[in-house]
């Protein structure tokens, strides 16, 4: 049976891991390659690296970092942040990334979703959507969740699927950093409306929150950052807990030596 995926997200700036609380107040949380290896052996099913470096030099650092990660870890990983051209994707995939994630650039120029899917396959094109509720409506935001657009979240999700996205990474800005649980209703509605998988993001604080978002297949995967980085939730324990709750989860054997 296909299992639900647990995905730690590492925010990268100038080659180091950071995590913003509501995307502000960045705290250094360590070395990305070391963390990636730790998460892989702890049982993470995938990893997401979100690069928040804006400079050209920083982008070159990112490619080198992606190569190091690909050499070191044996699970799939996605790289996002500042990707706006087919050439960026080509360089990241060649460096060893399995998927790329686009966000503001897809809103600015939706055609790139199709161009990237055609060139590299839908399976490696993740569209990240940052959503915030404004006056009762779920609205897509860009620039790290700061700038509202005119797009309705669910309508945009449907459009990116039609344009060839392979997965959606949905972050609820209303829940992000609150540790009060994922946006179950919005994520579930989106997940059941679409044919492609939806990754829930924003709001995880406890093991129970993961069990809740996987109930009724409201998400195919769940992503979190600081609670994993600061070991508030241990991935191995989380997965044991989810198995006990009857959730389809991949467990890792301790006796297999490869």
């Amino acid at each position: 049976m296909l299992t639900k995926r647990i995905i730690p997200c590492l925010d990268i700036k100038n080659g180091k891991t950071v995590k913003g609380i509501n995307f502000i107040n960045l705290i250094d949380a360590g070395d990305p390659v070391e963390q990636a290896a730790y998460y892989a052996q702890a049982g993470a099913d995938e990893l997401v690296f979100l690069d928040i470096t804006a400079t050209v030099e920083g982008r070159k650092t990112l490619i080198e970092l992606v190569k190091k990660i690909a050499r070191e870890i044996n699970i799939p990983f996605t790289v996002g942040g500042g990707i706006s051209h087919v050439a960026d994707v080509d360089a990241l995939l060649k460096a060893g990334a399995d998927k790329i994630s686009i966000n503001s650039s897809a809103v600015r120029n939706p055609e790139i979703i199709g161009q990237m899917a055609l060139e590299f396959g839908s399976q490696c094109v993740v569209v990240a959507i940052d959503s915030r509720n404004l006056n009762g409506q779920d609205i897509v935001h860009t620039h790290g969740g700061r700038v509202p657009t005119t797009l309705q979240t669910l309508a945009w999700a449907k459009e990116v699927q039609e344009r060839g996205a392979g997965e959606i990474l949905l972050t609820s800005m209303d829940h992000d950093g609150t540790k009060s649980g994922f946006a179950k209703q919005l994520t579930g509605t989106m997940s059941h409306m679409l044919e492609i998988p939806v990754i829930a993001s924003g709001g995880a604080g406890t093991k129970e929150h993961f069990a809740e978002i996987f109930e009724n297949d409201d998400a195919s995967a769940a992503l979190a950052a600081s609670i994993f980085h600061f070991r508030e939730v241990d991935i191995t324990e989380l997965k044991q807990y989810l198995v006990q709750r009857g959730c389809p989860i991949r467990t890792i054997s301790k006796n297999l030596i490869a």
């Binding site: 296909l2 299992t3 639900k4 399976q123 998988p197 995967a221 991949r250 297999l256």
Partner: protein, 200 residues
């Protein structure tokens, strides 16, 4: 050990190279008959679309070279599908090592709410019977899949998985082995399977 990876237009070979590096192997990536024939083992990976890949292989004669290889060969993902007889993906006649049809996942109306196409993620293997899976118990056998098309069950099936229905997660005939999942991205289980192939 001399390991060759088939170079062609549907290859995301970098991950496979890194996975072999982690096992202490430095593979050669080549599309030359003499290099592939001389290797101790050949890996035929791939990510992409069947008809484009088959057209390319035929145009440069690689299909005949691969079919005539005598040493152990491991197809991965689209590599498995191209070693089958026929793929529904753009009605593609493939190499026919395995007399098996490759079909698209068709979730029933009931399954549609929960089963997405492509299948993306970790699924479990069962009914494993091959040295490829030595040392891997069914309870540990989770591997990473990304695919919309699957090989039907057949006498060549050496491991099954289930998504919409039971399908061939791995096939074997003589010296030809093939896996639908990505060994190179399947954690320690994937590394063990790759290592088992190297030990054949």
């Amino acid at each position: 050990m001399n390991i060759a990876i088939v170079k062609y237009n549907a290859g995301n070979t970098q991950s496979v190279i890194y996975a072999l590096n982690r096992l202490g192997i430095e593979p050669i990536v080549s599309d030359k008959a003499e290099v592939l024939q001389r290797a101790d083992k050949v890996i035929f990976p791939g990510v992409g679309e069947a008809s484009t890949a088959m057209n390319y292989l035929r145009a440069c004669g690689l299909d005949t070279i691969i079919k005539n290889l005598q040493q152990p060969v491991l197809g991965i993902c689209i590599g498995l599908q191209l070693l089958c007889r026929y793929s529904e993906e753009n009605n593609t006649e493939c190499m026919g090592i395995f007399d098996v049809t490759v079909r698209r996942f068709q979730p029933s109306e009931e399954q549609k709410a929960t089963l997405k196409v492509p299948q993306i993620g970790w699924n479990n293997l069962f009914d494993m019977h091959s040295p490829l899976f030595a040392g891997i118990s069914e309870q540990d056998a989770y591997v990473y899949f990304v695919h919309s098309y699957y090989a039907e069950l057949s006498p060549y099936t050496i491991a099954k998985s289930n998504y919409c229905l039971d399908f061939s997660a791995a096939l074997q005939r003589d010296n030809f082995y093939a896996v639908q999942f990505h060994t190179e991205k399947s954690g320690t289980v994937g590394a063990k399977i790759l290592d088992n192939f190297l030990q054949l």
